[in-house]
Point group: D2
Chain length 472, copies 4
Amino acid sequence: MATKQEVNGNGKEGLFGSALQNLRSAWREIVRVSRKSDTPDISNPENLRAQIEACLEKKGGDVSARHRAAELARAYLAFPPAKRLAFLRVLSSEYGADADLIAGAVAGLDAATSAEEVETARYRLRQALEPARLNLLREFNTLQSGPRFLVQLRKDLIDFKKEHPELGPLERDLRELLRSWFDIGFLEMQSITWNSPASLLEKLGRYEAVHRVRSWLDLKNRLDIDRRCFAFFHPCMREEPLIFIEVALVKGLAVQIQELLDEKAEVLESDEADTAIFYSISNAQKGLVGISFGNFLIKQVVAKLRQELPNLKRFATLSPLPGFARWLARELEVENVSLRPGELKKFKALGLEESPLQLLAQVAQSGKWARDASVCEALKPVLLRLCADYLLNAKRKGGAKAADPVAHFHLTNGARVEQINWMGDTSGKGMQESAGLMVNYLYRLDRIDRFHEDYQSRGKINASKSVKGLLD
Amino acid sequence: MATKQEVNGNGKEGLFGSALQNLRSAWREIVRVSRKSDTPDISNPENLRAQIEACLEKKGGDVSARHRAAELARAYLAFPPAKRLAFLRVLSSEYGADADLIAGAVAGLDAATSAEEVETARYRLRQALEPARLNLLREFNTLQSGPRFLVQLRKDLIDFKKEHPELGPLERDLRELLRSWFDIGFLEMQSITWNSPASLLEKLGRYEAVHRVRSWLDLKNRLDIDRRCFAFFHPCMREEPLIFIEVALVKGLAVQIQELLDEKAEVLESDEADTAIFYSISNAQKGLVGISFGNFLIKQVVAKLRQELPNLKRFATLSPLPGFARWLARELEVENVSLRPGELKKFKALGLEESPLQLLAQVAQSGKWARDASVCEALKPVLLRLCADYLLNAKRKGGAKAADPVAHFHLTNGARVEQINWMGDTSGKGMQESAGLMVNYLYRLDRIDRFHEDYQSRGKINASKSVKGLLD
Amino acid sequence: MATKQEVNGNGKEGLFGSALQNLRSAWREIVRVSRKSDTPDISNPENLRAQIEACLEKKGGDVSARHRAAELARAYLAFPPAKRLAFLRVLSSEYGADADLIAGAVAGLDAATSAEEVETARYRLRQALEPARLNLLREFNTLQSGPRFLVQLRKDLIDFKKEHPELGPLERDLRELLRSWFDIGFLEMQSITWNSPASLLEKLGRYEAVHRVRSWLDLKNRLDIDRRCFAFFHPCMREEPLIFIEVALVKGLAVQIQELLDEKAEVLESDEADTAIFYSISNAQKGLVGISFGNFLIKQVVAKLRQELPNLKRFATLSPLPGFARWLARELEVENVSLRPGELKKFKALGLEESPLQLLAQVAQSGKWARDASVCEALKPVLLRLCADYLLNAKRKGGAKAADPVAHFHLTNGARVEQINWMGDTSGKGMQESAGLMVNYLYRLDRIDRFHEDYQSRGKINASKSVKGLLD
Amino acid sequence: MATKQEVNGNGKEGLFGSALQNLRSAWREIVRVSRKSDTPDISNPENLRAQIEACLEKKGGDVSARHRAAELARAYLAFPPAKRLAFLRVLSSEYGADADLIAGAVAGLDAATSAEEVETARYRLRQALEPARLNLLREFNTLQSGPRFLVQLRKDLIDFKKEHPELGPLERDLRELLRSWFDIGFLEMQSITWNSPASLLEKLGRYEAVHRVRSWLDLKNRLDIDRRCFAFFHPCMREEPLIFIEVALVKGLAVQIQELLDEKAEVLESDEADTAIFYSISNAQKGLVGISFGNFLIKQVVAKLRQELPNLKRFATLSPLPGFARWLARELEVENVSLRPGELKKFKALGLEESPLQLLAQVAQSGKWARDASVCEALKPVLLRLCADYLLNAKRKGGAKAADPVAHFHLTNGARVEQINWMGDTSGKGMQESAGLMVNYLYRLDRIDRFHEDYQSRGKINASKSVKGLLD
């Protein structure tokens, strides 16, 4: 019996519940399938190995193997972190491929001459290289909540791996398996509305990573008639969104996130909107890190909205610049920032005592600089210019990719940098990370392919005249 | 364009939204069907009559009549109260039956001799007595949200009728129509869970009339794995519950409502429960007042739970005594209350200065008496005895029915009075109205028919030995 | 235990099963609710009356009353025709309204003076006139398959009534009840496709009344991508269509029914069609005779098709003339038919020995005349002219309504007579009843209201120039 | 535009339609996604290669790649067999893995020393061995009907491969991909009833491989209240069953298939049955050959039936012996068959002229021997004994597996040989292949694991005493 506190978490997390859940409720089917009283204690490594081997050898047939997998999963879920780690280490280090088999297959490949022989030898080598542990992972998948269990397992692996690199092989195998099973072709896009299950909306509230959901009323507002929300689901894990995107239907480009999230703002009839603003996109499953869905989701949403609302003329984002303040700090550090004469003049005219560079250093460090109206006025042209510089010129170490991760995502998708918005996000996080700036990326449907190619093959970043003009 | 404030209400109502809603969103289909620009202004009585008559005569055929009804409904919904009232008065006073037709049909009945002639004449008289306005109400029903509109109309009528008895005929006609259409045979019972639509759960929070829902977490707790919730729906009004009941699955009789509603209490696996406690039943639609569903709902829920959870051995309520404090005040006023020797002795032993009757008068007036432990100790046996007296002997004015409305409901259903619980509801409302007492009514499946007959035909109230013993 | 033969019928009916069904399977819920072993034999009139009265008095409460109704229904369904008749006679003759109550209420109405008193007195009289049997019918409705049972009951009543007019009162009461409950506002239109349940398609095959379904392949063809089928359902009787319509998507007006039903004809992509042809509309429930849905169905289908297929420019029927041959026979009998000079000349030119009137008499009697090409050639202009005369001028006895029932239906809906098609239906039935002719009625959306009014209020029949021209 | 004949097939196939389908209807989504007019002609190998490479390089991004895959799929589906073959050969022979990459990775593996290095090197080698064509196959899967297209592709490959072994590599890659994607954990078991979509039942009729479905009435009978049918579906290919099983609910073991399929036989209420007979199990997708689902299906069905119908005490099959007559012929050929004295005596007593061995040879060759009652009487004990011998002793060449494929399937599942039924299948096929015999395999739930192990690890075939007794 679990107390509600475990289930609902304490006050701070209470709004949308914490991640802690009653084992019996959450993994009901695994518990049901594994109901056997005589299972040996799996936290003992010998018993663990015996159970894994019986499962892999399918003693007693397929159904028995499934029971054994359920028992392993159940034990794992009930384990505290230390025992989970021990379990995963056994799996990662002991159930690899067979060295002799591999050696034989390599020899076979060497000996092959005809094209056909080569193909067959390669296939055999590939088979020989399959680690035994893959079969155990597949066995878990035969459980009803198997896919969810494996996603949970990978989440644990990612967390443990930082300090336990020996889990690498297992994590890699699981990633490849999940990549295959969560193939984009199997995912279903669903519209999420205020009529969706409360349990699903609760998860949205918990997983939203860009602009925190403050209350159920905030959530309801994001699902009003001038809003849309879409998510990808896997057909075998319908209760868990993989990724979701929030859209506002507005007139003209939206420039300020707080306005969009204002629960008391006016409601627009959706057929009066001319612009769809993607203002939040969140991955919901840490266990699927490295398997990307966002590019497909955004394009399917555009297609769906165009069909549903033919009055929409423009598709754009309202995005944060999560790396801007950090980049600015580094630039200042290496003394790579200088002010233009016009900018300097403004500082003097406003009688600011501190030097512009000192002020910029404050911007780079905290969000508190904006309280002084003169400071804001003086900094505005400088920050807009530096932001344009950041977006159009800053690249990742040793590469042609945009330094800003959000920029990189949308540019890869074929969007262009359209507009930088002063005081676009005045929340604590927005001031801190992005100096209060937000940017619109524009998706022009007739250019997506070309812009994608520009960026992908040549690192060229397309931008509007107005943004490029900030650099002149 | 409506502001969000209108839609969501102010802070106090904000948790589950207010009843105010954007006309366009809420009655989307009525607005769609009625899209005609040349409709005359219906707030002008002449135009109103012309529109009603065109609708009743079905000028242009059935579909045109439906359009006209939609225009009337749309105008009505957009009206402020005064105009709504004017509209309803025209309908109630002018569109009755035809006096000549009735007179002719009465004459026909007088003249009829054979059984067959009599039957036919009666049928004709019934037809002649049908007011014309009934046809307009039926026309509204052809709209997709017609049933919901009519329920809204009746709600308005009930509100207006207190001061405008001339609306009586219309209200009566509408009640009969709704009674026929919301026949129990058409209703569907559905289980409501945390996976139900958030929009529906929001309504539950708004409509709960017995124990106020304080937050979404409170709501979630009422839908946990050791709780159940069921509601009746009409198939043509699926988004609106008509009535719903909340059930707790527990071990033994539940005696304290705050324990049931405690979000941090332990969770019970539902198959470990031996008792189902019905702790709240709320009608959701004021517009359906006088059309009873509760008796059917409670019995269908018992049948469903028995099937789903064969371990359940007992079905009982945990109910308030909403009339107890009021009854006690009256009894004191007419000096109908006296204390027994043993009871008096206890007061003295505890050294209470105030007289017992003064203390009882406090109980009848406010919920604040319970802060003093001695007072509680002294009052407990007195209040339990008086409560048993109230439940078993107090009758409604001039009748054989139990004075307490909740008691009357469950006794009519064939339950018996099982147990009175001291400090069963320590909320403000519970202390105020029920002196903190709650009562369990027990549904013994093998006795329901007999107990129903006992009460229905002879006014006999069945009770357990322990409750009857309180009176000895 | 029933044999399959009962269930599936013999060879002739076998394709779509017969109406006979295993009692236990078909009315499973009624059987379940009524499971009591001590029910007395209801075929004994005394027991029947006792059971009816116990049910009406709700002895033991609502749920007991429902059980009693279930027992009555179960017994009724198991009865052979003679016992069913006896049951219905008791109900029709004994459970009427109370004469004294009526007399009192009539007196009350006489005594009423104020408008309010009159309204109340009328209401009371209406209540007094309600026969007791209505409550029993309502009690049946509380059963899950109650609505279906009542429709079955009315079917029986209609069949029995021809020879037993004393069943009239019961049949009338039931009709009014069903009319209220099957109000158009409660019905749901659904699209029926080859993906619909086989059990539903089987019913379509059985109920199709215009052009008999010959095989499952024929049925599949009627649901192909260039066909549509829509039906109305009551939400409490989802497994039974009330009425359905079959639509062909074509280029230009369809003029020949056999072409439409040809399983080997070419398939058209639905967005290439410019015309929707309604070629069959069938009522499925004899028990709902006199409660009309067709006019609403046809207009909802038009609305739905326009939305789904914007390329559609024309909505028309391809309809039989079920009364034409019969009308022609009568006209010949009363010597009301004469040939025009041009027509007579053609007969001579083709060297036909028989006189034109003799040939017409053959046409009116059987479908075999069309084998001789010369006869066809000579008769064509005569029959087309007479058909136009029949459609535009023949009226029902003593009225302004079109004599042809199908014409009356579509004209009331606001359609016009568009085109008469020679050899439009060469099936046995088509040749026999309609002399092989078929007619297109055209639904012009911008004229429907006006044409409806023309016909409804003045009996004016609108027709195309080409049809009117046939009479010149 | 396709003619219906293409769609529905000719008379012989007509009952459940042929496999030929209108391209546009069947692959609607592929056609929609690929709507581009400027696609080059892919039947030209140069264009084909250009298109494949553009797709693999994801020129223009993910969405463009999907379009290109759709164009390839569309072209492929429209191709005649010869062009399809050419397409597949290019794919199979040209888009393998990179030889240099493999060589490098093999060298890397040789050089690896630590366990971690070895694991990483193995992983890299596995990646290097992945043929490029796998990515194209994955790209097809991003299409909505992608999974179905790939299953179709594999079907073609299997057909072509017999004469074109060079397609082996592609067929193997596709098989592995499908094996991963059609993992048992992703499949959903559904119950199929007479309320299932007609389009699905039509497929059942077409795919049933054991006892041919003769008519829709036959099909309806197999879905009656004393029958059950279950199928596995992939969530991304819901309209296509992968495998299905037909079950009869009976009293006692069913011994005769014609009785089960008799449409006029008595119907049993399902809760009166004590035995579930699995009388047909059919794989529906040739493109999934080699990926087994049957063992899981049969066990899930047992679990489901036990829960739904607790009265069921026995789970068994009624199975053909598809290899018996062929085995008998071979045994006779190698003179491995001799009669026992008692058997010989019976032949003489019945005055049969032909020698027993000649008669057996007839049995082995055709199903016509059974017309003579004396022959039957004489052969019965001999054939039963030989059949027991066949089931218990005949092994596949060089192995421990049962020679009969159906026996092998059920024995692997943990069933035992329970009973051999004389004249169990008197159809042409049954007489021909199985000498009219059928066998019941019994699934004893408490022995399944042990029997599976017996057979799997030691080749031991469990059988009832009565079957073993036939050999004494």
